[in-house]
């Protein structure tokens, strides 16, 4: 019990040095479990043999002392106090049934175990931070030598990428592009040139239509070839190179070179 006085004394001293307004936290303790662990240590026995009953009493005395000092305790300290008061009553009062007394002992054990676990992790933290630490106790190479990296780029593409790209773009343009079919046209110049060549080959009257077919003009060009050849023949007639003759309207048009006509006459 001497320890309790010591703790409350410590407590008073700490508060006295602090700001006069009483604040909620218990300076130095990180929660009720931390406080309990400290109280348990003061029992000066190892943690596997602590008396939970004694611990509960010490805690309650501590909280009472704090309240007398009109300190406002944080809620979790009060919750723990209430719980410990309950546990204490259960441990002290003869239990009506065996099961209930066993339950109280279990609760006490659980608390003791939590304290031991916290103590253990606390030790683990200390041991961990007692290790030589990088940048504080041990050091890495202060002036590492840089590795020169000769980077070569390797391009990646799969056949699928390639084919889908080809299909994608060719399909896109196949649809998008408007293609005008070249009009099948026999130009006047072409017709004239063809007629001029024909003039050398024939000497007598020749039907213009027959000639066009004979000349091997493709069927789709025949209409345009007829129109162009007719125009070209008129032109050649005006120039005095050919003679034209038509026996009746819509009858075949006949044509012969002038030179041939003069020879005949």
């Amino acid at each position: 019990m001497a320890g309790v006085g010591a703790i409350t004394d410590d407590f008073q001293v700490e508060r006295a040095e602090g700001e006069p307004a009483f604040t909620v936290d218990l300076d130095g303790y990180e929660g009720p479990l931390d406080l309990l662990l400290d109280l348990a240590r003061r029992q000066k026995v190892d943690l596997s043999r602590i008396s939970v009953l004694a611990l509960a009493e010490q805690y309650l005395v501590f909280v009472e002392a704090a309240r007398k000092l009109r300190l406002e305790l944080a809620a979790d300290y009060l919750v723990m106090a209430a719980w410990l008061a309950y546990l204490k009553s259960r441990l002290l009062l003869p239990a009506p049934t065996k099961a209930e007394s066993g339950e109280a002992a279990e609760l006490a054990d659980a608390l003791a175990q939590r304290l031991r676990r916290l103590e253990l992790i606390r030790r683990a933290g200390e041991v961990l931070f007692a290790r030589p630490r990088l940048g504080r106790d041990v050091f890495a190479r202060g002036e590492p030598e840089a590795t020169e990296v000769a980077a070569t780029t390797v391009y990646e593409a799969t056949l699928y990428d390639l084919l889908s790209a080809y299909a994608r773009q060719s399909q896109k343009h196949a649809r998008a592009r408007v293609r005008f079919a070249p009009r099948a046209v026999w130009s006047l110049a072409e017709a004239r040139e063809a007629l001029m060549r024909m003039m050398g080959a024939i000497s007598d009257w020749t039907a213009l239509d027959a000639w066009i077919v004979e000349y091997g003009v493709e069927p789709k060009f025949r209409r345009t070839a007829r129109a162009s050849s007719f125009s070209a023949s008129l032109e050649l007639a005006r120039e005095g190179r050919v003679e034209l003759r038509q026996d009746a309207a819509f009858a075949p048009i006949w044509m012969r070179p002038i030179a041939a006509a003069s020879q005949a006459s």
């Binding site: 190892d46 939590r114 676990r117 253990l120 992790i121 961990l128 990088l134 041990v138 590492p144």
Partner: protein, 232 residues
């Protein structure tokens, strides 16, 4: 003489260590500030060289020197000998002293990982201040691993390779066990069965009760769609 002859017959032929391989391994690890992967070293050694034997021999060579060859987080690095800490300690490194809460939190994460914030609070008996975990994550020692498959899907925390590197540990299993902690006093060894420090394990693979941190949809948003599967 007899002893040597006997030895010749007794022992297996020791792995032949070419002096050149020792030099190469030494140069590679020495040049780097970061611990070097053993496979990366093996790549540069002569064909058929036993990288394990080479590193062991190199470690032996440096055992008594001012610089040690250490195995850290499964990799190799040169570090100044711990007993020379006094020589090199710089004041500025002590400026950032961790709070007790942060130290305890780190110990809990290290031993009990993967842990949630609630797990830490359960052990410490007090709410985990946001700062404690932040400080540890900022130091690069603690990382978010995933989410526990439980109501609220709380985030699980674990330690990093940097944690191992900072504390000079080859693996998380090298953390002091219950025996060593008992050696520190306080416990008389009569701990109830089933009580103690767990076998720490920082396996990066998620546990059965862990989910990845993000849903795949969120990942996709961050990384873009997977493959061009929608391409026809």
């Amino acid at each position: 003489m007899m002893g040597n002859v006997a030895k010749l017959f007794e022992t297996e032929a020791p792995p032949r260590i070419a002096p050149e391989d020792l030099r190469i391994a030494e140069a590679i690890v020495f040049a780097a500030a970061e611990p070097t992967d053993e496979a990366a070293i093996a790549e540069r050694l002569s064909p058929g060289a036993d990288v394990g034997a080479v590193m062991a021999e190199l470690q032996r060579h440096y055992a008594e020197r001012g610089v040690h060859l250490a195995r850290i987080a499964g990799r190799w690095a040169f570090r100044t000998a711990p007993d020379l800490a006094w020589l090199l300690s710089r004041e500025e490194h002590d400026k950032r002293k961790l709070s007790r809460a942060a130290i305890e939190t780190l110990a809990i994460v290290a031993y009990h990982q993967p842990v949630t914030r609630a797990d830490i609070e359960e052990i410490r008996g007090v709410a985990v201040s946001k700062g404690a975990l932040d400080v540890l994550m900022e130091a690069g020692w603690v990382r978010m691993r995933g989410r526990r498959k439980s109501p609220g899907r709380p985030i699980t925390y674990g330690t990093t390779a940097e944690f191992l590197s900072h504390f000079g540990l080859d693996a998380i299993a090298d953390l002091p066990g219950l025996d060593e902690l008992q050696g520190a006093g306080l416990f008389d060894g009569r701990l109830p069965p089933g009580f103690g420090v767990p076998q720490p394990d920082d396996d990066a693979n998620l546990r059965a009760d862990e989910d990845p941190l993000e849903t795949s949809a969120a990942l996709e948003q961050a990384w873009g769609p997977v493959g061009e599967s929608d391409e026809t």
